[in-house]
């Protein structure tokens, strides 16, 4: 069996973001980087599938500068067998159709039985890539899965719907699944596995070899929403609070006169 898992390196979401000078993306100075949260679920599930079927080869793919190799090494330490690094210093500037195009081009003739992706990236959040990859490869896809099973060529996935309802979906492999929070608890890479990962194959492929589609959209600009007059939290004794509330309502609104 051949498995592919696609991951993205994103900034730690607790970082302080600034819009970069060009005004279409965030400034990547002084940020800490990590694996996109949803991709962690994807890697974990891919590794579990490999462990389940035994005879499987699991490739992790990531697009970006050399820096993303650090995150790929984590996936290798979690149990992926080999890495395909699509070298692209301008990956941040690619829109979802292009990203999916690159992945599909890479995967096209390789005969992957299951392709895992996160349901979206934490920094761009388009939620399109996995599903577009499936369309480009003419494969079925199941999005936002919270449970995954595999038996004799059939994937049985659960999806979470609004209001806590779940749906069970069956699909024949090859197929693409996009992974959602709740799917699993990603393992910690252990020290011996971190050291073993160093010896695993991690090949870089120039993006130019794989980028065959044109962008279909462009980001006009990126901005922080204008600050609305900030909220006001009152603290103190209930009686005193009531008095202050009344005086604010009188001064600042027309509710009380």
């Amino acid at each position: 069996m051949k498995i592919l898992v696609c991951i993205k390196q994103v900034p730690d979401m607790e970082s302080k973001f600034k819009v970069a000078a060009e005004g279409t993306w965030y400034d990547n100075q002084d940020l800490a980087w990590r694996m996109n949260e949803y991709d962690e679920y994807a890697v974990e599930q891919a590794v579990r599938l490999k462990e389940q079927v035994g005879d499987a080869d699991l490739t992790v793919l990531s697009i970006g500068s050399d820096k993303v190799k650090e995150t790929m090494k984590k996936a290798l330490a979690m149990g992926c067998d080999r890495g395909a690094h699509i070298a692209d210093d301008a990956a941040w500037n690619k829109e979802p159709f292009q990203v999916a195009g690159i992945i599909a081009e890479y995967a096209r003739d390789k005969g992957f039985d299951v392709i895992f992706t996160g349901m979206q990236s934490q920094d761009r959040g388009s939620g399109q890539v996995g599903v577009l990859v499936a369309e480009m490869l003419e494969l079925p896809s199941v999005s936002t899965i919270v449970d995954f099973g595999y038996e004799a060529g059939t994937i049985i996935a659960k999806r979470e719907l609004e209001g806590g309802i779940k749906a069970k979906v069956k699909v024949q492999a090859p197929a693409v699944v996009t992974c959602q929070l709740g799917l699993n608890t990603p393992r910690y890479p252990t020290l011996p596995n971190i050291m073993k990962a160093k010896k695993k194959e991690l090949l870089s492929i120039p993006v130019a070899e794989l980028l065959k589609v044109n962008a279909r959209m462009e980001t006009a600009n990126m901005f922080f929403p204008e600050k609305k007059g900030g909220g006001l939290v009152l603290e103190g004794e209930a009686g005193e609070l009531a008095d202050r509330l009344i005086s604010i309502l009188k001064d600042k609104t027309t509710v009380l006169k």
């Binding site: 650090e70 090494k73 910690y188 890479p189 252990t190 020290l191 011996p192 971190i194 050291m195």
Partner: protein, 583 residues
């Protein structure tokens, strides 16, 4: 790094920033294990810290087994015996992260630090293959039994005795050990005893042997979740194969393991202090008095800044030393007939650095947890707040792995001894300094110059102390203690400055904050240098001689003070904005 620097060599020449190891030099694997550790602590250990400190049966073993599954027990163990055998930086990162876990850190250190390293470095093939794989998985828990009721700091005066059995197959051990970490859960002990009451030697002892018993659990100030007991030996039969290294060479094992133990204790302190600052910075942002977060008060800002600054200094020092130990261990070739001696001498090379960092980092931690409690106000005194535990847990680190007094004695004593053997050119350095003092001296204009001033003052005072006392100096503890402090000030300020320069040259992360912290650290430290040096010279000489020496000191310490207060405001701003330690 091209050539290994000599131990204590930092005091003499200058070091290129490129040649020291800094946390900015972590590779991907180092960062990954740090991340694994952070998650392990947050998800597994911290939530159950209270249960552990209530001594819930079996919990320590459970956690050690889990740590074993993550590979956190085998970092110092060769691959062929079930470990990962990786560089000392990994071990330093593990020790740092675990430092915040109080009792667990001690359980871990007793087991795979001091309870393991004697076998790793001084065990033979048979001993390694019998014990190390079980240590790596925590199938067998280890402990280190050196201290006795009557011999603590004076470890070599141990009374525990080993006598060879008439058939020559066993040593029969008799005696008492006290304050032994992990004693209550241990399956094996590294025990020091004197063969025939004379030859101080190390043994591996199976805890389940007849005649070996442990006392009641000690009721301790902190680290409450770790087992601390006496261990009694009543005609305990230890197979002769379990003698470590050679008869009468126990001190070589004990002291070299202590050097590594000191390095790990220093790393523990850094981790605990970072956690204390994280808690305190968060608390100061949330707690309001007089309608504003207390983080906005000048005196609180100053505390946060000084806590961060000293942590930064200790972190720089500990990783620089970790880098030295890694390089040194890499160059050792223990394959020859005298392999163990090679290792012992290798570790011994940086004995001074290990003592320096242990004293500095543990005292840094004491300061940080104390100010941490203060920032928490009354809540800091309440057990529900983790800072209360950190405060209690910190206290032991100035006492074990050699008390800080003993470590202070080791520092100048080792340097004087090396000077006597020609290994540390004190006389030449002194000559050079005198030439400099008789010529035109310069003002110290930047932090790097001030570091040089601190180093010069150390050599000057060390030199004049020796001129006054000769070999008798080794009996003048008050002077030795101050010389140790000066050597510590030199090492820590230099490590901090070199790291900062290395970061700046690489346009690295938070270069501005690092420069601020390093500058604040260096300019506050040099005041302590000045005080200690003046106290030494005033006890060495009197009258016009004292006036002249004071004038020499003034020449060496010719610098203009800087505005520390505004620097600290900037540092505190960065810490409060992040709500945690950043560097």
């Amino acid at each position: 790094m091209t050539q290994l620097p000599k131990g204590g060599g930092y005091l003499l020449g200058s070091t290129d920033p490129k040649n020291i190891f800094t946390p900015e030099d972590f590779n991907d694997e180092h960062r990954m294990i740090a991340e694994t550790l952070s998650r392990f602590l947050e998800e597994r250990i911290f939530p159950r810290m209270e249960e552990m400190d209530a001594k819930q049966e079996g919990l320590m073993r459970e956690f050690l087994v889990e740590a074993g599954e993550l590979g956190l027990l085998g970092a110092d163990i060769p691959e062929e015996y079930g470990g990962s055998e990786i560089d000392e930086i990994f071990s330093t990162i593990i020790a740092e992260k675990l430092g915040a876990t109080g009792a667990f850190a001690i359980g871990h250190g007793g087991h795979c630090g001091i309870g393991n390293l004697p076998i790793v470095y001084f065990g033979n093939e048979d001993q390694k293959s019998r014990y190390l794989p079980n240590i790596a998985t925590a199938e067998k828990i280890s402990a280190y039994a050196l201290t006795e009721p009557g011999s603590g700091s004076d470890a070599l005066s141990a009374k525990t005795k080993a006598v060879l059995s008439p058939d020559g197959k066993h040593y029969i051990l008799n005696g008492d050990k006290t304050f032994i970490s992990n004693a209550g859960i241990a399956d094996m002990f590294i025990v020091y005893a004197k063969i025939d009451g004379e030859k101080f030697s190390a043994f591996i002892v199976d805890a389940h042997t007849d005649g070996l018993t442990t006392g009641a659990e000690e009721k301790k100030m902190g680290l409450k979740g770790s087992s601390t007991r006496s261990v009694f030996f009543d005609n305990v039969k230890v197979p002769v194969e379990n003698l470590l290294y050679k008869p009468g060479k126990g001190h070589v094992v004990a002291f070299n393991i202590l050097n590594i133990g000191r390095h790990k204790a220093a790393a523990n302190s850094v981790g605990a202090a970072k956690y204390a600052l994280d808690l305190s910075a968060t608390y100061a942002n949330e707690r309001k008095q007089f309608k504003v977060p207390i983080a906005q008060f000048g005196m609180i800002k100053e505390k946060l800044a000084e806590m961060a600054t000293r942590i930064y200094a200790a972190e720089s020092t500990v990783y620089r030393t970790g880098g030295l130990l890694t390089e040194m261990i890499n160059t050792l070739d223990p394959s020859g007939p005298d392999g163990y001696k090679v290792i012992a001498e290798g570790i011994e090379e940086y004995a001074v650095e290990c003592s320096l960092e242990k004293v500095f980092a543990t005292e840094m931690e004491a300061f940080v947890v104390d100010e941490g409690v203060q920032i928490h106000g009354g809540y800091g005194y309440i057990a529900e707040y983790p800072i209360e535990r950190l405060y209690r847990d910190a206290r032991i680190r100035r006492i074990f792995e050699g008390t800080n007094e003993i470590n202070r004695i080791i520092i100048p004593t080792t340097l004087f001894r090396r000077a006597a053997r020609g290994g540390f050119p004190l006389k030449d350095a002194m000559k050079e300094l005198k030439v400099y003092l008789n010529g035109e001296t310069v003002a110290r204009e930047n932090p790097g110059d001030v570091v040089q001033a601190i180093k010069d003052v150390f050599l000057f005072v060390m030199g004049v102390s020796y001129e006054r006392y000769g070999d008798e100096i080794l009996k003048q503890q008050e002077i030795l203690g101050r010389l140790a402090d000066l050597a510590i000030q030199a090492y820590t300020t230099e490590s901090t400055w070199l790291r900062t320069q290395k970061t700046a040259a690489a346009n690295g992360q938070n270069a501005k904050l690092k420069t601020n912290m390093a500058t604040a650290f260096i300019y506050t430290t040099v005041e302590k240098t000045s005080l200690a040096a003046r106290e030494i010279i005033a006890t060495l000489v009197t009258g016009s001689e004292l006036v002249n020496m004071q004038s020499d000191l003034n020449k060496l310490l010719n610098y203009t003070p800087i505005d520390i207060i505004s620097l600290r405001q900037k540092i505190a701003g960065a810490i409060s904005a992040a709500g945690k330690y950043v560097s």
